[in-house]
């Protein structure tokens, strides 16, 4: 903090406890830091580090979640002098909340009340804190919507939250937080649920508002790349304690604590793979350097050939639930995955990348096209043969908490494919399962456990073990690491690369995270509105993107390096149009231009 300035917020020895079944659970053990006026402080940490609890304590909202501030001072500089928020009475807190401290929550879908119009939600606080008349409050709400650059603000006021897109809603939430010109804005993972282009817009918006109004920002996030882009100072937390604090350049360039170093090492940074031909495991602190690394696959022929794959989902409506329109989820997509190769499919939510993966496995039924796995036509198989074909291709799902049956022991779940496909019988089954647990680096003692006894990363390893059980040729990983903390994500990514090197598995790696994709893939395909807009070698797509969408996507990705701030002050991307088309809509075929050997760019225009 600059010298000679009174801090706006000064947190001293904060300790927060939650009432657990066996006595109190410590959420925050002993945390002290301060925020100067006009400064952006990022609190970064993995899940369970206590970062959100700290921010909620500052609003005393932690009490509504069963927490209790047991010790410490939370000093907040108001006009009339410094107030200790930890001791303040309810009236004072009400005057501070939403008025002097504004807050943005993570989930824009749920932080607005669905039954009130935008106007009603925005003017409530203004009338309450500022005593404005209905007229004046409305005028102020309009002004705020303009300030956060929402198009057609007059119309938005009359709309309900469900009529707005996620990014628009988060802008409304920010406008509400800004309504009373707070001196401190608390942003708790404000962009985690958003697509990367919308994230860039929101971050640039917060940056601009901060400069214009001079407010301080307390930014809670797990994402080191976001920290690098927005922070002035960084507070690193781990298990309820403050690990390290310092200016952002300092933290990134010379981290002092081992935990900070480990955290930074686990973060893939976009651009750091420049000039490398094959994927490379992340170097984790405290791990030996001898890791198997996947190499550039020699041309050994294609494993999976997808051509003109199209998947549409009917939209039912009316009295008789007839099909009234179609969602064009996947539209004329063609690509090839070679043996031992990783093809990454990237894109924003709703671009059809997951539907594409599911269509290949026929978990969603494709409308047309062909899928050949080892020259065998998957789409023509009957149910029985399809079941057999799954022995060659497996899927790892996104949510490790939902992809394992909570009522079944882990060994039993991993054993299922072995017995079902007749790959092992009798005592051999348990031996094979034990071998698979070894393979994914889980202790054998976990075999008799139930899913809830494991952490997210451990569960994802079990899911990988289950997929490996049949010795598949292809694994479709649908956002397989996006629900994990960065350090765990790095371990799981390394495991996948190692398995590829050892077992010669091909991966279809579906992800929204460009930095992760750059790290793990041999080739990259970019999807937009159901189509593959660009595909080529990783270097071709990431280093010389040709399609306009690929370029804008790459420009929006935050880079985990404070020296390379790419988030400007006014970023605007075109919102993705709806993929719903009327029945009988004839989609134009995808036509590609080969700009370099193997580097294809879509030349079909979107309608």
């Amino acid at each position: 903090m600059p010298d000679g300035q009174t801090p706006l917020v000064s947190i001293e020895n904060l300790r927060v406890e939650f009432q657990g079944e066996d006595g109190p659970i410590v959420g925050v053990e002993d945390v002290s830091f301060s925020i100067a006026p006009g400064e952006t402080v990022c609190v970064v940490g993995e899940s369970g580090s206590g970062k959100s609890v700290t921010s909620l304590s500052l609003m005393r909202l932690v009490e509504f979640g069963g927490g209790r501030i047991v010790d410490g001072r939370l000093e907040f500089a108001r006009d009339g002098g410094v107030v200790d928020v930890a001791q303040a009475d309810p009236d004072t807190m009400q005057a501070i909340r939403g008025n002097e401290i504004g807050m943005i929550f993570q989930e824009p879908m749920t932080s607005l009340n669905p039954v009130f119009t935008i106007e009603r939600q925005m003017t409530d606080g203004l009338r309450m804190h500022r005593g404005l008349s209905a007229e004046a409050a409305r005028a102020r709400a309009l002004e705020l919507l303009r300030q956060v650059r929402i198009p057609e603000p007059e119309r938005r006021l009359k709309q309900y939250p469900h009529e707005l897109s996620g990014g628009m809603r988060q802008r409304v939430v920010i406008a509400m937080a800004m309504a009373c010109e707070p001196r401190l804005l608390i942003a708790d993972e404000p962009t985690t649920a958003l697509d990367v282009t919308i994230q860039a817009e929101i971050l640039s918006l917060i940056n601009r508002l901060k400069r214009e109004t001079g407010m301080a920002v307390l930014f809670i996030t797990h994402d080191m790349a976001v920290v690098a882009q927005v922070a002035d100072r960084v507070v690193v937390m781990y298990r309820g304690n403050l690990v390290e604090e310092g200016p952002v350049q300092e933290i990134f360039a010379h981290p002092k604590e081992p935990y900070t170093r480990a955290l930074l090492a686990a973060v893939p940074r976009l651009g750091e793979m420049r000039g490398k031909s094959a994927p490379e495991p992340l170097r984790l602190v405290g791990e030996d350097e001898h890791r198997l690394t996947p190499t550039a696959p020699a041309e050994r022929g294609p494993l999976l050939e997808v051509s003109h794959l199209t998947t549409r989902f009917p939209v039912k409506g009316g009295l008789f639930r007839r099909t009234v329109a179609n969602v064009h989820a996947v539209e004329d997509v063609s690509f090839v995955i070679n043996r031992g190769e990783t093809l990454a499919l990237v894109g924003e939510s709703g671009c059809g990348k997951s539907s594409c993966g599911r269509s290949i496995l026929r978990l969603s039924q494709p409308t047309s096209g062909t899928v050949l796995l080892d020259k065998r036509d998957i789409l023509g198989l009957n149910d029985r043969d399809l079941r057999r074909a799954w022995a060659d291709m497996q899927m790892v799902f996104q949510d490790p908490f939902a992809s394992l049956n909570p009522y079944m022991r882990l060994s039993e779940q991993v054993a299922e494919p072995l017995t079902n496909y007749g790959l092992a019988r009798g005592s051999e089954v348990q031996d094979r399962v034990a071998g698979l647990f070894d393979r994914v680096q889980l202790p054998r003692s976990f075999m008799s456990r139930f899913p809830h006894e494991l952490s997210g990363g451990q569960r994802q390893r079990v899911a990988i073990a289950r997929a490996l059980a049949v010795r598949p040729k292809l694994i479709i990983a649908d956002e397989a690491v996006s629900a994990l903390d960065v350090s765990v994500q790095a371990q799981v990514l390394n495991l996948m690369m190692e398995l590829q090197a050892e077992l010669d598995i091909s991966f279809l790696f579906i992800s929204h995270d460009m930095a992760v994709v750059e790290r793990v893939s041999h080739r990259v395909g970019v999807m937009y509105r159901g189509r593959l807009v660009e595909i080529g070698d990783r270097a071709q797509v990431m280093e010389s993107p040709q399609h306009a969408y690929t370029r804008s996507l790459l420009s929006a990705v935050p880079i985990a390096d404070p020296a390379r701030r790419t988030i400007g002050e006014d970023m605007n991307f075109r919102p993705i149009p709806s993929p719903v088309f009327p029945i009988g809509h004839e989609a134009a075929p995808s036509v590609y231009e080969e700009v370099a050997p193997g580097h294809l760019v879509l030349s079909t225009a979107f309608d």
Binding site: E21, L361, L363, R387, W390, A391, Q394, M395, F397, Q398, D399, A402, S403, L404, N405, P406, Y407, M408, Q413, E416, P417, N420, Y421, F450, H452, A463, R466, A469, V470
Partner: protein, 277 residues
């Protein structure tokens, strides 16, 4: 053998205790108490409040409420239990198949269920009972069929939800057959809903039996059942509230016990609750 942790909570213990006590009464009362004690009329002590001679009072015909409630237990529990069991036996496969298969199968099965649902359960039971003739077994069948659509609907909804979970899709790609998917992956995950719905259904079944009895299609007077006793007490609520309170308390205790027992059972089946208590 050690009791599962879920049954060692106070809730689990009370629930289990109540259920065992009620089952004991249902089995033992008719063996230990002569049947005519429940039907013996004492015209001089009509609507008598609890006294030494009649610890729980008497009804409008001077019959002892204690004996009536004890001897009515078996009828009420048997009818309600058997009827709910029957509705599970029919409704469970119906709901599971409907929710899992979807499409035309789901449409056909659910329109059938909707047809049943469109009649009030009691009216349906009444019709069935009237057609089959009034006796104990037909009462069970009538109530069982009348309760099936609710259960089938709830199970279908749950099956639909669970069938879309990634773990079911993962199990499918792990080569599991449809039947194994339903039995090993979907069914355990909808058990909590089935248990909760069954305990609620039991309470309603006891009362439904009363409705049928009232119309002369269930338990025939002078035999006792809880429902019949509640039904009969309606006209005397102002003068002799105990006539309703006694059988009412029996129903309430049964439902309470079953609910607590059901919760404990659900927790005992759920691996997530192990170790925590």
């Amino acid at each position: 053998m050690k009791l599962p942790a879920a049954f060692r909570t106070s809730k689990g213990l009370i629930g289990t205790g109540l259920v065992i006590a009620i089952l004991l009464v249902a089995v033992l009362a008719p063996m230990l108490i002569p049947a005519d004690w429940a039907t013996k009329m004492d015209m001089r002590a009509r609507l008598s409040p609890p006294t030494l001679a009649h610890p729980l009072g008497t009804d409008q015909l001077g019959r002892d409420l204690l004996y009536r409630v004890l001897l009515g237990t078996q009828t009420s529990i048997f009818i309600a239990g058997a009827a709910v069991l029957m509705s599970i036996v029919i409704g469970l496969p119906l709901g599971l198949i409907s929710g899992y298969a979807g499409g035309t199968t789901d449409n056909v099965l659910m329109r059938l269920v909707d047809t049943l649902l469109s009649f009030p359960a009691l009216l349906l039971a009444l019709t069935i009972s009237a057609v089959l003739g009034p006796n104990l077994h037909n009462t069970v069948i009538a109530i069982g069929i009348a309760f099936t659509p609710f259960l089938a609907r709830i199970i279908r909804g749950e099956a639909l939800r669970v069938a879309q979970m990634p773990y079911v899709e993962a199990a499918r790609t792990a080569g599991n057959s449809d039947s194994r998917l339903i039995l090993r992956h979907i069914l355990p995950n909808i058990m909590p809903a089935i248990i909760v719905q069954s305990t609620i259904s039991l309470a309603f079944a006891i009362l439904a039996e009363a409705g049928l009895s009232f119309l002369g299609l269930g338990t025939q007077p002078p035999d006792a059942s809880w429902g019949l006793m509640i039904q009969a007490s309606r006209d005397y609520l102002d003068r002799a509230p105990w006539t309703a309170l006694v059988p009412g308390a029996a129903v309430a205790l049964t439902v309470l016990g079953l609910n607590m027992f059901g919760d404990a059972l659900r927790d005992a089946l759920d691996p997530r609750s192990k170790g925590a208590s």
